[in-house]
Symmetry: D3
Subunit: 161 residues, 6 copies
């Protein structure tokens, strides 16, 4: 067990260890937020094309942003054991650096469980969409450092990476 | 422009730089394959729980494998400018190490364009599903090194990272 | 700014003007309804075939009705910045005239934001499905006058076109 | 029957008139294209906000373009009797006028049936997404003149509205 | 009318008998559960392959379980007149017998309407996925006895088959 | 092994027995058809309401037919290891008896693998949609005898149950 887990978190294990969407019906509905990131590492030349809008498939950041927002809403269809949640806010932002673009996705809900997976899915799909836009000019680009940055709301309290 | 691009790859740029799903109707239909990976970095303790089947949400690798396979089939719905392709094979494999799990996804098609995005989407979603299974015991886990490993078929020839 | 907007409605603009799913978490959950329409203009002969059930693809109105109801439920997957809402009622009705069919779609929810987009999406997809049923006999048919007819519930009060 | 139909087009009617996805397996696979449009009628003031990027939800045309492209790929999931087709090109363009925006969507495939429904669905959903972006400032906007503009390929020959 | 219906249940009939998603906005939100089953009848030899993991497509029960859980979450997209519900728990279990596998699916929600359709859809799709895994070795397998086993919560009270 | 399997059918087993979408890229593209059925067993009274159109949710057979056709097109999204196929025909028919409705679904494709799962999924979802329409008047209805009736095309030859 790592330091950031509690014994309580294992209470959902079924006797036969089988996969299931755990029961969250007894949890309190609160406002919850999560922010996650993913980083696309490419070259300075390609970052220049992203910024200047010179890529073959068109305006990369606008497309990636919409991809991330729409994917965050599909999280419970994509991640087998995720609960469907009524998302109340989604943003996808880009921090364009020398040879990398950091994508961050923030998601908010008023629900019985958190939105880390939604934020991670939004950031990941925005990164994949961005890769799709640049792969004609840099197929060796890598998506890295995909992780939860911060989480608030819920029983486990606020948390920042 | 990086060394692994060709001038031809920019022929799809529209005058106004707007996003579009590029015309691939003149390309030859061939058998194409791509393999991609993503790496989930966690702790040795958590890797032990994955292997032993002791996670709260159940059998992590089986769930992540199905998530990856199903996501690869959804690629053209998730990545805005990807073409829908008739996938003829999808595998998702895991290489479980000390404190990390490497997910690889291989995809095959007989079509006019390649399947790198399908392989990347399969690997990424398997990694996200795996994170979802372990986040109760390690919310600080990171997905990293998501990239195309190899590609074959198509005009640009075979290629390995 | 038009007369039917309020300065408040612009409070969601982000500094960089980027697209986002706006934060509705502070809004009150109330019962909300919206009705929208779309009109399919064709010929009297085709309207006769719709009514008599003589179209190549079969029973046009029943198919279009189901298409509209199912599409209304997909609104947040189709419209990038729409919030997912728990729809509590959907109806799709047809007013068959001389050479046109008016489709109206009414949607209800108990939620923090309105259902105009759901009503419009339901009416539009029912109209498109109807066009699909008749295009073998009138490819020049036109869908027109797609608009919100009425809205109730929410801070902005009731409203009729 | 209107002038633009052929008796052959009714050969698919089933004896009981029931809805079905008609058999296209005997048709020849050819390159086919279709272009469709939809027009969003609003005010000059709102068109100014669209152009200037001053709308509450952000960059309207980029979002609507992605919505249209993604929707075109979902056509066979949305229109009950449409065949799934391997789309090889999708573009969505905007012609911004005084108080209206004309959306045109062009789709291409190499398949046994045409892509009018895909072009119409792409244009319609781009128009709906655009309405969603401006509804805070003009809820009375109307989508009109949604129709097929041109079609080529297939047995029925080329055709322009 | 059968004994297990009430006259009240017919109050939703529309004058023209047309299909619609009935209005549930006035119903009370309560915790509701439903369990449903489906039975896959095959041969003892095939059941042996399922248990031993010797099937061509791989680990059948794990795949079928995930298919059932994911399908239950898609119920309102698959069943035209079903309301979207915020599911709070889904389990899929297998009772492996001599020449049959009984699949049971339990679903929970806190909502204004019940989850029988979600439980039935989960059980049915798990059974279909299981058939898909074994069809190479027994194409004559049959899915039978698909039904609701129990339901609790809501105005109509608890009920067991 | 049952009589209706061939040793060849097991050639796809992976060494570790893991689930995968098997490679069909070397198979020949041919016209393939499959027909499957599902039977909804209810009461004579309810069958009367189905026929007379007197059900609370409306016209049951038309809704179930559309549900079946649309579900058949979603098969590869629902069944984890199914290949996406370009379906060229789908029909759903009903044989209404004393106290039961037999649903049959026929599907056709020109592809490298068969469409049994598409036919089964279409029949099953039509049956589930029909149950949804009648559950207010007969919650004890059962879906039974879901099976493949006939299959043609492909290496394994024609086959009838």
């Amino acid at each position: 067990m790592t330091e950031n887990s509690s014994p309580a978190s294992l209470s959902h294990v079924r006797e036969d260890g089988s996969a299931h969407m755990v029961d969250v019906s007894a949890k309190a509905e609160t406002t919850r937020e999560a922010t996650a990131q993913a980083v696309l590492r490419t070259t300075a030349e390609v970052v220049g094309l992203i910024t200047a809008g010179g890529l073959p498939k068109g305006d990369a950041l606008a497309v990636a942003r919409v991809a991330g927002i729409m994917a965050a809403k599909q999280t419970s269809s994509l991640i087998p054991l995720c609960h469907p949640l009524p998302l109340s806010k989604i943003t996808v932002d880009f921090d364009v650096r020398d040879a990398a673009v950091t994508i961050s996705c923030a998601v908010k809900t008023t629900a019985v469980t958190g939105v880390e997976m939604e934020a991670l899915t939004g950031a990941s799909l925005a990164a994949l969409a961005l890769y799709d836009m640049i792969k004609a000019v840099d197929k060796r680009a890598v998506i890295t450092d995909t992780k939860v940055l911060a989480k608030s709301g819920g029983k486990s309290g606020d948390w920042t990476a």
